[in-house]
Symmetry: C2
Subunit: 118 residues, 2 copies
């Protein structure tokens, strides 16, 4: 199945997870695989951020396509730029902020954990 850029839904979130400004979420695929909760391109304008939040029973992968920013990983702050990737498994928290002059563009995938045996 092919989805064209122009067919995709763009969601605009204000103060996402308590962050600053707005985040555009371009949903790359609407019929997601059962174990995938999100596959999207996130765009943060300069000065915008997604506040710190924890993931449970899933892992979020971010790969940075363009721009520069800072992330926190369980509270530890680090600079990131295009080419870097972060992984936030269940029980861990993260945030991301655009600290550069250009848009910060991220491909984000959230993969659900397998059903637990307990």
């Amino acid at each position: 199945m092919l989805r064209r850029d122009r067919e995709m839904t763009v969601e605009v979130r204000e103060r996402m997870r308590g962050g600053r400004g707005t985040v555009s979420i371009r949903h790359l695929e609407e019929r997601l695989p059962p174990m995938c909760r999100l596959f999207a391109e996130l765009t943060l304008k300069p000065g915008c951020s997604i506040g710190e939040h924890e993931h449970t029973h899933e892992t979020e992968l971010f790969t940075f396509i363009s721009g520069a920013g800072t992330v926190t990983d369980d509270g530890l702050s680090m600079a990131v730029k295009a080419g870097d990737t972060t992984s936030t498994p269940s029980g861990h928290s993260h945030s991301v902020a655009n600290t550069g002059k250009d848009d910060l563009v991220i491909i984000a995938a959230i993969i659900k954990d397998p059903p637990s045996a307990d």
Copy 2:
């Protein structure tokens, strides 16, 4: 967990799935979530391709970051460019070729199907 561009493994595959030339696979995350088999940046130089192949018990998502090419989706050929996304669920087949003048860069994620009840 943060992984820097320079820390990532780049795998070079010749004639991948029967395609032409070489494909560079930059593995964005080595400690993948349990239900994710691949999270990688694929780079196809002009004229290079990945041959047609079927996925079983998993879905492959491609989002095209830059360049232009053609994909097949169950044998049907379509032009693609940056901004487009394809989804290839279990039981379906695809291929991809760089038909442009620039590198074709793709973020690829393979998500495993949940354990079957049967």
